[in-house]
C-alpha cells in the first residue's frame, strides 16, 4: 500500500533557497486540503554544505522519504542530484538544474568537478525521466538568478497532486511582494521548460 500520494526530494546547496520550495509546496498542499509532511536541513550544513529536504504530499506518516521512494528528485545543483540519486524510485522523475556551484574542495584544488554529462549518465541509468535545465539562466531571464528555486518549482508543478492555482496562491503568500513579479515569471519559465 502506498503511504503517500507524492514524495518529493529537493536537494541543493545551503543558501540556494531549498527551504522556500518546501514551504510553498507545503502551504499549497494545505490550501488544497491535503495532509502534508516535510523535513528540512537547518544548522551546520546550511553554511554552503549539501542540503536535502523531503516533502510528502497526501501523507500522514513521518516526513522522511525512504531511499528508493522519491517520486520526484528536484536538484538545484547537478552534483547534488547525483549525490542523492539513491532517493529516486525507478519510475521517478529527476529535474536537474545544470548550473554547477563549485564546493570549496574544488576551488581550493583538493577535488575536481565532473562534467555535466558524467553526472547525467548515471542519473539516466537510475531513471528514464531525467530533465536537465539551466534553471539559473532561466531565473536570470525572469529578472534574478536567485529565483532558480522557483524555476524548479514551476518545472515540478505538473508532477504534484496540487493544482497550479494553489501553488501560485502559496507563492504569493510566502514570497515578499516586491519579488513576486520576478518569481511569477520564474515559475512560468520553469513550467514551459518541461512542457
Amino acid at each position: 500500500m502506498r503511504t503517500s500520494d507524492c514524495d518529493v526530494v529537493v536537494v541543493g546547496v545551503g543558501g540556494q533557497g531549498v527551504i522556500l520550495i518546501s514551504e510553498i509546496i507545503g502551504r499549497a498542499a494545505m490550501l488544497a486540503g491535503l495532509s502534508v509532511r516535510g523535513v528540512e536541513t537547518h544548522g551546520m550544513a546550511q553554511r554552503g554544505g549539501s542540503v536535502i529536504n523531503h516533502i510528502r504530499v497526501g501523507c500522514s506518516y513521518s516526513a522522511m522519504i525512504s531511499p528508493g521512494g522519491g517520486d520526484v528528485l528536484v536538484a538545484m545543483e547537478p552534483a547534488e542530484a547525483l549525490r542523492y540519486a539513491s532517493y529516486l524510485s525507478p519510475a521517478g522523475v529527476a529535474l536537474v538544474n545544470t548550473r554547477p556551484l563549485l564546493p570549496v574542495t574544488v576551488t581550493t584544488g583538493q577535488a575536481s568537478y565532473p562534467s555535466i554529462e558524467e553526472i547525467l549518465a548515471p542519473l539516466r541509468e537510475a531513471s528514464s525521466r531525467v530533465y536537465p535545465m539551466d534553471a539559473t539562466g532561466l531565473a536570470g531571464k525572469a529578472g534574478s538568478p536567485q529565483a532558480a528555486n522557483v524555476v524548479m518549482l514551476g518545472a515540478l508543478a505538473r508532477h504534484l497532486p496540487i493544482g497550479e492555482g494553489r501553488l501560485q496562491e502559496a507563492l504569493s503568500e510566502i514570497v515578499p511582494a516586491r519579488f513576486l513579479e520576478v518569481n511569477r515569471k520564474a515559475f512560468e519559465l520553469g513550467k514551459i521548460e518541461v512542457e
Partner: protein, 601 residues
Amino acid sequence: MVIILREYLLGNVAIARGILEAGAGVVSGYPGTPSSEIVEHLAPLAKEHGIHVEWSVNEKVAMEVAIGASWTGCRAAVTMKHVGLNVAADPFMTLAYLGIGGGMVLISADDPFCHSSQNEQDSRRYAAFARVPCLDPADPQEARDMTLRGFSLSEEFGLPVMLRPTTRVSHARATVDVGTPRERKASPGFEKNPPHRVALPVHARPLHAELLDKQAGIEEALAKEGWNRSQMRGEVGVIGSGIGGLYAEEAIAELEADVSLLRIGAYPILRDTVGDFLEEVDRILVVEEMDPVLEEFVEMVAKERNPGVEILGKRSGTIPAVGELDPLTVRNTIARMIGLPERTAPRMSTEVLSILPPRPPALCPGCSHRAAYYAMRKAFGRDAVFPNDIGCYTMGVGMGTVDTCLCMGASITVGTGIRFGGEERGICAVLGDSTFLHSGLTGLLNAAYNGARMTVAILDNSTTAMTGHQPHPGSGETAAGEESPAISLPEICRSLGAGLVETADPYDLVSMIETFERARDYPGLSVVVARRSCVISDIRTGIRRPRLRVDGEKCGGCKLCVSFGCPAIEFDGKVATINALCSGCGVCADICPQHAMEVAR
C-alpha cells in the same frame, strides 16, 4: 473559547504554539540546533502576549530563570539542545527534588546522527536520571499536543516535564491543528516555603523519598494519556518510541502485514503497558533512535511477563546502535521478521559517487574567521597548539588552527590544562563571542587566577551565527528586540585578569597579524578580540562592499590566495579568478604577493 486552526508548521514552531496555548509567562533558552526556532518564534510575539521571552547567557542560566519564574506560580518553558542539558544538569537534577510552582516544560532537542552536534546523547536518560516525566513526540502535531498538555501534567505531578523532540521532529513541517493563545495567568508571586525551595540536606532527604513515591502515580497517569498505545494484530510485534514508532506504523501499513504495534510517547512507562503487549507476542522488534532506553525496559518486563519472547533491537544488532533511523531500514527489518521481501534502494555504486567532489559546510565567502585564522597561523606558526570550541569557527578545521573541539567554552580550559600538562609550544585558544559569554568567562578567570601562559582569541562577530544569528549580551539587543547595553568583551577580559587585551579587525590583515604577534610574545595570559561583524549579518543589514577581481596580467599563478580557502576564489589552471560569491572583504588582496587583486569597477 479555544478555536482550533490547521496550519503548516515547523515542529519547533508547533512547540512554540503549544507554549502560547498553555499561557506560559516566561520562556528562556540558549540557541542550539535543533532547538533554536522555538524561542525565535516566540521572541517577536513577547510584547503582544505580555510574556517574557529571553535568550539567556547559557542553558544553566536559562533553566534557573525558568525555575524562578515557575516558583512564582507562572507557567514557564526552557529550551536547549541535548548537550545544553549537560550545562543545565545541576539545577535540573535538584529541581526534581524541590518541585515546581507553575507548570514547567523543559525542551531538550536531541540530534541523532550529529547533524549539527558533537555527540548523540539521549535526553531520555536524563529524564530517567532525574526521575521526571519525558514526552517523546513523533511529529509536529504530537510535539504541540505534548507541549500544551505538558504544562498541566507538570502541575499535576509537581515536577518539570521534559519534551524530547529529535531533529526530524523539530525540523519537520506538517499540517498541525493548533488553538488560540491563552492569556498569561496572573501569578501569585513567590511564596516562602523552605522545605520545598531550600535544598538543605535536612530537606533533600525527605524530598528524595517524596520524588520516588511519586513515580508509580506518574506511570499510572501517563498511561491514561494515549501516547503509549497498542494495536494487536498477530504474534509478531513492534515496540517503537517517538519517531521510531511512526516509522514502524508506516512500514506495517505499507507491508499490509499483521504485525502488532505498541507506540511509546511518554516515560516512565507503566510496566503493564509493555507486559500486556509482551504476553500476546512471541517475537518483538524494538525501534528507537539513540540509546536502547526502551529496549532495556522491555527486557526487564519480559523477564516477569514473557521470558520466552525473542527481543530484537539494538542489542541484537538488528537496529543500528548509532546514527539516525530511516523508514527503509525499519521497513526492511520488519519485512525480514515476517518473511516478506526487502525493498532495495537503487544504490549508486561508490565508483559512480566517487566522481563527486565532497561538499562539507564551510566558512562563508568573506567570513572574518578565515582571515583571523590566517593571521593567527602567521603569528603562531603551524606548530603551535590551537584548542578550539563550538561555533561557525570550528569549520576552519582545514586551516590547521582547530586542534581540539570538546564542548562549549572548553577551548580556554583545555588550553590551560595543555599548558600545565607540560606543553611548551605556543597555545592560542579560540572561541566565539557568544560561546565566550556562554561558558568562556569562568575559564578565562581560572586561567588568569592560576597563571596560565597562553593566548585566548575571541572571534567576535557580534552574534550567535551558527545557530541562526541570535543576539547575546554583546549584541546590544535582547531576543525580543529591546535595546540592551552591549557589554565590552575587552573590559570583561581585563577585569577577569587577562594581562594583555587587544582588539583588531581581521579585515585589516597586517594589523591582525601584528596583534597576534604581541599576544604571542606576552609572558602571561593575553586576549585578542578579533572583531568584525558576520558577513551574513552585513548582507541582512544592507552593507555592500564592492567585489574584487584578479588582474590576470599580474597574477603569477602561485595559488596562495586559492589555498586561503575562500569559496569566492577559483583557479582556472593558469591564474586565480574571483567568482560572484565575493563579498568584498579584501583580505585576499593583502595575501597576494603580486598585488593582483583589485576592486572590480
